[in-house]
Subunit: 685 residues, 2 copies
């Protein structure tokens, strides 16, 4: 039997020509590493396989509830999508060959730290899935679905025994529904994606300067004046919470305060520190608007609001944000300055602490535990308050040493267009966290990927979240030592297309958006260009054009995924070549890609000017071709050990330096790799 | 300005290489024929265009209702999908530039023959849409959406004045939810597709031998014993009816009786003519099971049932099926034979007439008008009964002469895998219908596409229905003289990808299913093979393998659309070549396709055996390559006016004859075209 371990598999992918990608895939699925993500805590392979056919018959034994029943139903629906075997036919008469045993009920409201373990035994004869509660069983079912593979004998799951449980209890995804409203159907399909990779907290960022997105019946001007009419009704919120619970996911709402609150103030300017008038923000960035922490009426309002929202959201935790106060409105208000003097509040941070302490008491009075971003942490902060860190592991370590629990989001900001590998290698207990005592480490609850919403809509958010968040999910679930980047990418390549079985639109969204830009069928050269591009990194995009909340996000930068597979593989090829480790096939593959890019502009150019949405790509396409032409010459020089003209090389490097900078809000991922080739060619004398 | 009329546009598509498809598309959208389907009754083009940007502001004037408001909302959502311009931003302050004026309310329950006309005026300055009622306005909005196109200056709609109304009042799509259960979400997205092309009747085939799919509260064993647990609750039915009404679509339920009733008899064997026992059918074909028309208890049961269902479905029409009684159970039952003798019923047709007349009285007593297939028509049938014809225009003419109204489904059986052109050219008033008097012609209400469910599931039904049903919709809406097949295909090519804006899965479903067959990314050679294949025609598929209701529909035949665009274009090329009318580019294009196919098997073969779902394609792939090789030699002979070896040609023709027969339940669409080439080459001496 052909052997493919993780390393050789990644290698095969690397050198494969497009038409041959098929072979390593099937190979990986049949005899290579199992494409599990997150990797289980313990796993033992055996021989044989369990056939997936019409004879599948599941029996729920032990404790049963609606969640388990719906989990089985969902399992069969996904299994249908994986195999095409109709699930109604999967309840044939006869003895069950797939037994699910759960010992007891899950908690009525899912709790932080509730058991999530499961034991899965697959043999040729049958499947046994046991768990202390339905929550663990749900995780086991998702593991099983990832094990399904296609073989010459049909669909099957290899014989294996898995004992699994998470490393961290808080494994979250935050979605910002404020900056752009995200429709309920997009939220729910992302909950399905979360279940697939065992994430268990949906952190819902529901208010910010640009929109207040929840219906308040007590304070209806919040949504009426604080949104463009796009908000979630309480009925919809209830449905999302129920949908999440069925999938083993808690829903933690965030209402950011006292800053990031312009949208609140549109309806209730009496809460403000400034004179107003306030209207929902239409631009991005940190705003000055802030609640007035000095008025008792502010707390009366918040008491009413928190009372209503803590009834709506059953989770034990309630997130009050608390980040990024610029203090300008406080500075400008003499009454507030007077209050600060009278109460010995020496600066704005102290004023915010006063506010946070008051709000924390309101949250506690409504029987919830407060959560907030780094800024809410003060020496006197009650010990049960949970800190979510956007500042980093050091900030989290401060909280843990002080006795507060916390979770990491630094490094998991999936809106910043970093590659999966960078997120993957960030550990909640890395950096300063590694120096904590065992007791302090136990206070680090986990982490959360954060999908901030400036540049995503319901149309393109899925591919910004997935598949990269699957790598973060593995970081939070799997043992700390699971951190091989090649293995991660190899498994991600198999897991990623499976997200469409959960209704998520990854490649599909790119295709639809490219079709729109093309006014019809997508010409291949546009696909080639798109594959060589990535969105700009970090926060740079906001400075490149004037963006408002109403700006259409329908350009190439909005259509492409944050990480280009083609560019990543080309970069790997170039590194092998410049390291002198490339095989003949790899040289050949690099050459083919460069030729493809070099010749692309001649085909693409005539098409681009026909559409308002592609005309701006003319220089981008030219630049890609030119970079590829330079790369080809450097490759030739390297291959033939030929001296490079120093002046020409210098000029090329300068040109490439410029070409590697964003154009039309796009990052050319080929130019930097070509720089390496030119440098290597120049260095060989 | 570049001119592209319908003919030259079709021609451009024909000769375009894949990479250049972009150009004619954009051309067509900018200056060519408008890609409207169905074509309006009257249209006058003007100069200028109305820009689609963030400034769009719609004002509803005159009569307003929920349907109009939801139509506006939906319009903006589709417009967002077409352009990426966020619809919330489309309600800018300022004067409206898109005015919708409706004179009066639509009927509370949509009526057959209710006005559907609209007047649409687009100029650079604004849009005026007027209609007698919301129903007409909904149609006008869909026309506008089809006019949106991408230009170098952005999205816009050309200046045009349209006065439009349908030719036929009954324009339907039937979906069979019995043979395979079709999930509600699939039904609703097809209702969206129907709205897009102005179809106005959803005929829902809800019971048959293989499944009873509606919850009955009065007679719950119908769904409990008559389905595999997959049926629509009454709440869901209500939601679908409401969803349809908002889109200007009536919902006509069909409960087929007295035959096609095995699923009823599973729960209520006392209705049967035979001794039973009855279980839901698992195979396709005409079954013997029949209700007993001789017992009063049968009519008491049906009275209760019809009472419940006519309350659930508000439409004025109620379809009782009535087709395909084989009479075997009646023949075998001495009590029934005795009854027939006693009542002077000379044969089984007479017995069915007796049954139908009794049922018609029940339907009328519940204030509904009965509809049935051809078989229900008898000389004494009440004049208000509507006949749906699966037998043809002659059968329909008999009904019309007798004074009954009818609609045509013969020729619109979209389950039979015929090309769009064949359906398109069938006219409800063609054939025998052409000889009717004006008064009789008025009794021909329209037609219905019928999507029978033996070989479709929710996963692949969309691409079986669309885009071909759009051509049928045009036949039923547009003036009779609109029947240019080239123009239809040219417009269909633009309309077809737009169905994805309505949530329909056409190419997407093919891709997902090919991915499943491949165990990952789809290798290009598999796409090439798939593009040359079609499902077998007519009813032949059922005889090729043993199919049951539980048979997975996950093979290549299930993944591909019923009509291959590539094959159609190749066939057109071959016809031009053999007619001596091909341009140099067309010769070249034909050669390229043949080379692609000839060389395909060498790449594909090694991949096919890795998967249980593709292994059967080995001989299919070989055969395609061999046919292409023969085709290339014939092309050479033709191009060089070279004599062909007669024996070789004869052998090749024989071989091609066999290759044109289904293999692995697939029809090779290249072999018949190659036969033409070989014949032409042989005929040139």
């Amino acid at each position: 039997m052909k052997q493919c371990n993780a390393r050789s598999f990644a290698f095969l992918i690397l050198l494969s020509l497009p038409a041959l990608v098929f072979v390593p895939r099937l190979c990986a699925q049949q005899t290579g590493p199992l494409a599990l993500m997150p990797m289980p805590a313990h796993m033992t392979m055996a021989t044989g396989q369990f056939a997936i056919d019409g004879s599948l018959k599941i029996d729920l034994q032990g404790f049963k509830d609606e969640r388990l029943e719906s989990g089985r139903q969902r399992f069969l629906e996904i299994l249908f999508k994986e195999t095409g075997i109709p699930y109604a036919a999967a309840t044939q008469p006869g003895r069950a060959n797939f037994i699910i045993k759960t010992a007891a009920a899950s908690d009525a409201v899912q709790q932080l730290g509730e058991k999530e373990s499961y034991h899965l035994e697959v043999s040729a004869a049958g499947v046994l899935l046991t768990a202390p509660n339905p929550l663990g069983a749900l995780h086991g079912l998702q593991t099983f679905l990832q094990l399904v593979r296609l073989t010459p004998q049909g669909f099957s799951v290899p014989a294996v025994t898995i004992d699994d449980e998470p490393r961290f209890a808080w494994r979250g995804l935050m979605i910002d529904s404020s900056r752009h409203f995200i429709p309920v159907s997009v939220i729910t399909r992302n909950l399905d994606g979360m279940e697939a990779v065992k994430l268990n907290v949906f952190h819902w960022h529901l208010s910010d300067d640009q929109g207040f997105r929840v219906e308040s019946k007590q304070l209806p001007l919040l949504q009426e004046k604080g949104s463009n009419g796009l908000y979630y009704t309480q009925k919809q919120i209830g449905e999302v919470i129920r949908y999440a619970r069925l999938r083993g996911i808690r829903v933690v709402p965030e209402f950011d305060m006292p800053c990031h609150t312009t949208s609140w103030l549109a309806g209730y300017p009496q809460l403000a520190s400034g004179a107003g008038a306030y209207a929902v923000a239409e631009r991005w960035g940190v705003m000055d608007a802030a609640m007035d922490p000095t008025r008792e009426t502010t707390y009366q309002f918040l008491d009413r609001f928190i009372g209503e929202m803590t009834t709506l959201f059953p989770d034990a935790y309630f997130h009050i944000g608390g980040d990024e106060c610029d203090g300008k409105e406080w500075d400008a208000n003499t009454r507030i300055k007077e209050f600060m003097r009278a109460h010995g509040l020496k600066d704005n941070a102290a004023l915010q602490s006063y506010f946070t302490a008051r709000v924390q008491k309101l949250v506690a009075a409504h029987h919830k535990i407060m959560e907030g971003w780094d800024e809410v942490l003060q020496p006197e902060t009650p010990r049960d308050v949970v800190i979510q860190s956007w500042r980093g592991q050091a900030s989290l370590a401060v909280a843990a040493r002080q006795g507060n629990r916390g979770l990491l989001s630094t490094g998991y900001y999936i809106d910043l267009n970093q590659p999966a590998a960078e997120h993957y290698l960030v550990d909640p207990l890395g950096g300063e966290g590694a120096s904590l005592t065992a007791e302090e480490k136990a206070r680090v609850l986990g982490g959360e990927a954060t999908m901030w919403g400036e540049f995503v809509t319901g149309e393109n958010i899925d591919k910004c979240i997935w598949p990269r968040t699957a790598a973060i999910a593995e970081r939070l679930w799997s043992p700390q030592e699971v951190r091989d980047v090649d293995s991660m990418y190899a498994r991600l390549a198999i897991v990623s297309p499976r997200f469409q079985n959960y209704g998520l639109e990854l490649e599909a969204s790119t295709r639809v958006m490219l079709e729109r830009m093309s006014g019809g069928e997508v010409p291949e050269p546009l696909e080639v260009l798109a594959g060589a591009m990535q969105p700009p990194l970090g926060y740079s995009r906001g400075g490149m054009r004037e963006y408002r909340t109403s700006t259409p996000l329908n350009r190439l930068v909005d259509a492409i995924p944050p990480e280009s597979e083609t560019a990543r593989k080309f970069n790997d090829l170039v590194k092998r070549i410049t390291d002198g480790k490339a095989s003949a096939e790899q040289w050949q593959r690099a050459r083919e890609l460069l030729v493809l890019w070099r010749d692309n502009d001649a085909k693409l150019h005539p098409l681009l000017e026909a559409s308002d949405l592609t005309a701006e790509l003319v220089p981008v396409s030219q630049s890609l071709s030119q970079a590829a032409a330079i790369g080809l010459r450097a490759l030739d020089d390297l291959e033939n050990h030929r001296m490079t003209d120093k002046d020409a090389a210098q000029k090329n490097l300068q040109w490439l330096e410029a070409a590697a900078k964003p154009q039309a809000v796009l990052l050319d991922m080929v130019a930097p790799a070509v720089q390496l080739l030119v440098q290597a060619a120049g260095a060989q004398q």
